[in-house]
């Protein structure tokens, strides 16, 4: 069984980084819809993918990944919203872990919105 001792050791290492992080308000927020509609259409793997990629690529000081309830567009779930400070919110629809990875690479790192996956750009007629 995994012990709390291990957690204690991690904490010792982490303590110094916390204050630094709390002061940073220039975060880009990435929000995944996680109500019944989102969960049923596959939001959990999308959320897991996004947060593990942000961690792997050491972007946690710039990007925070969180979850929310029903956004009200259930037919387009899983939905990922990207809110960059000072910019308009971008809504990505019908996400998969693969598409989410593309959004992270091209939009969050590269700075170019992936138009074909957005609510306004996707072919949903």
């Amino acid at each position: 069984m995994k012990s709390l001792e291990e957690l204690r050791a991690i904490r010792e290492r982490m303590q110094s980084q916390v204050s630094m992080r709390a002061e940073d308000h220039n975060h880009t927020r990435v929000v995944v819809g996680m109500a019944t509609c989102g969960i049923a259409s596959g939001a959990r793997p999308v959320l897991t993918k996004l947060s593990s990629l942000v961690q792997e690529k050491n972007l946690t000081d710039k990007i925070s990944v969180t979850q929310t309830g029903c956004i009200g567009l259930c037919q387009y779930e899983p939905i990922v919203e990207v809110m960059e400070p000072g910019k308009q919110k971008i809504t990505y629809i019908k996400m998969t872990p693969e598409k989410a990875e593309e959004v992270l690479e091209r939009h969050l790192i590269g700075g170019h919105i992936v138009e074909e996956y957005t609510l306004s750009g996707a072919d949903i007629k």
């Binding site: 291990e6 109500a35 019944t36 969960i39 049923a40 961690q55 309830g69 009200g72």
Partner: protein
């Protein structure tokens, strides 16, 4: 919903919305009695008897974004279609308890799915809520208690990469030791 664990994620989400400070989730698989019991118990705002009676109706919700509330009806149907049972009890100001019993061997029982990922998601993304998770498989069991984690961590948040990874490992390794990697 293709997995029981996704129902758990969805229904436990209601508990956090109800302002619960503590949510206790029990997953108990007992092969000899052929039962899988899932209990989600919270100390949130609770519901009146009228609301409790309505909550399994898909056309009832307290939310305003849509006119349907499918989370609880899905969970109920998933349990009852295996010959199991579903109950929900609630007291305003005290909390709510949802109990779903599945018949393990029934052909219509959906798989448990990635229950560790569900618990991890709940714990990491609800920093204001404490969770107790009890997992039992026949005679073995383990417990995760975020109050214990919090005591060790102080103000270090759960969503720091190293802590989040520790919680995932804690869940996966302890589950493996408890059920020997059984898939059901």
């Amino acid at each position: 919903m293709p997995e029981i664990s996704l129902n758990v994620l969805d229904v436990a989400e209601n508990s956090t919305r109800a302002g619960a400070s503590l949510v206790t989730i029990t997953v108990d698989a007992d092969i000899s009695s052929d039962k899988l019991t899932v209990i989600i118990d919270d100390n949130g705002c609770g519901m009146t008897p009228e609301q409790t009676a309505q909550v399994t109706d898909p056309f009832f919700t307290s939310r305003t974004t849509r006119k349907v509330g499918l989370g609880v009806p899905f969970f109920k149907l998933a349990a009852e279609s295996t010959g199991g049972s579903f109950t929900i009890t609630s007291t305003p100001g005290v909390g709510t308890t949802v109990t779903a019993v599945f018949v393990l061997s029934h052909i219509d029982r959906m798989p448990l799915g990635d229950i560790s990922a569900t618990i991890h998601t709940l714990v990491v993304y609800h920093p204001e809520t404490d969770f107790v998770y009890r997992y039992r498989y026949n005679d073995s069991s383990f417990t995760l208690d975020t109050r214990e984690f919090r005591q060790v961590l102080g103000d270090v948040p759960f969503d720091m990469p190293e802590i989040s990874a520790y919680i995932m490992d804690y869940l996966n390794e302890n589950k493996q030791e408890t059920d020997g990697g059984a898939v059901y």
